[in-house]
């Protein structure tokens, strides 16, 4: 049969243990929350990087290449045409020796050369535009990567804090467990002493009865925690 003290001790121990378990679970939950939050942030960074990469990739398609080559060609062709139209500062006398045919031939040759050279010049425009586009994308992705890395670097610290965020509750639980344990021990010891005395007293009763018959008497002393030995029954020998 449990005493009030033992029940209280048991309840305290249970409360302490419960508090410890609860603290553990709260800490685990807090750590999981931190990881989940960081995963969410990293997912956002990944989305940003994907967007930059996708946009950059969209500028590397065949139609864009054709457009950039054409732009470069047009720029060069316009430059050639403008330059060819500008007359030499003083016409030479020898030009009079040129026939219309040879002048037409030269003009056609220049036109052909301009077209071919402009087409070639277009590729340099494509090259530089792609280079700039790639560099810009790399810069943007590098910024995102740095932000993501900085964010991830904070996570271990957050986990450490989360791991100890419910230490107060755990310590309180531990204290309750300790108190409950001590109280239980106290109660157990007290109950044990009472039980021993009762048993012994019962035994002694029998003995006493026997002793009475035999001319002996037994006195059961009061149980005391101070000296367990005195719990032992003192049997007085009959005086002959």
């Amino acid at each position: 049969m449990c005493t009030g003290l033992e029940v209280a001790a048991l309840a305290t121990t249970l409360a302490g243990t419960g508090a410890g378990v609860a603290a553990n679970q709260m800490e685990q939950s807090a750590m999981q929350d931190k990881v989940a939050q960081e995963n969410q942030r990293q997912a956002l960074y990944q989305q940003q990087a994907n967007k930059v990469f996708t946009n950059s990739l969209a500028q590397s398609t065949q139609p864009v290449a054709a457009k950039q080559i054409a732009q470069g060609s047009v720029q060069a062709a316009q430059g050639y045409a403008t330059a060819q139209r500008a007359p030499i500062s003083s016409a030479t006398t020898s030009m009079q020796g040129q026939t219309n045919i040879s002048q037409g031939r030269d003009a056609a040759s220049q036109q052909q050369s301009n077209t071919a050279r402009a087409a070639n010049a277009g590729y340099s425009n494509y090259d530089i535009q792609q280079w700039i586009k790639d560099l810009d994308a790399r810069n943007r992705m590098s910024l995102i990567s740095t932000n993501a890395q900085n964010s991830a670097n904070v996570l271990p610290s957050e986990l450490q804090h989360a791991q100890h965020s419910w230490d107060g509750l755990a310590q309180g639980g531990q204290l309750l467990t300790t108190v409950g344990g001590l109280a239980g021990m106290y109660g157990a010891l007290g109950a044990g002493a009472g039980a021993t005395t009762a048993v012994d007293a019962g035994d002694l009763g029998g003995v006493g009865a026997t002793g009475a018959q035999a001319g002996t008497s037994a006195i059961a002393p009061t149980a005391s925690l101070g000296n367990v030995l005195i719990n032992r029954p003192i049997v007085r020998q009959p005086i002959y």
Partner: protein, 200 residues
Amino acid sequence: MCGGGGDTSLRDQQAEQERRIGYGSGLIDKAYSGFTPQFYADRATAYNNYAMPKLNQQAAQQGKQLDYRMANQGLLNSTAAGDLQSSLNRETATQKQGIIDQGISLSNDLQKNVNQSKSNQVAELQASGNPAASQQSALTAASGFTAPSAFAPVGNLFQQWGNIYGAGQLAQAYAANSPYSTANRGNIGAPTTATTLSVK
């Protein structure tokens, strides 16, 4: 203590640094915002404006020398003079193309340098996380590119043509063994020796 929160300052610092880098990146973009396609096209035009008069000057000089040589040989208004003039015209056109190409090339180089500089500023910003310093650095670098650059001297654009036609061909034009020589007029187009090419 329940709930945690001692790490808030670290997270706040990280968020603040991210904000600063984003802000600094915007400042760098702004510092380089003047480098538009028109800016680069203008730089190419500036080179054309610088080099084209020099080309014209040299072409005119070559034309005059051609006139003098033709006049000395009594070949003005001749077919030979016409051919040489045609050759000079083609060479002039080629040199004009070269100048245009050079202008475009300078423009492309400038674009590369500007964008590389911008990239360096972004990298510096990431390392320092200091937008103000990055902005100053970007403005300084950008102003260095906006200043007009000194173009390299054009040089003698007709040196090769002069060597081949101005001196060489004219000197040989009426030499004894030249196909243009009166003595060899009948042999124009007829090879003097047969050459057999074998392809292995």
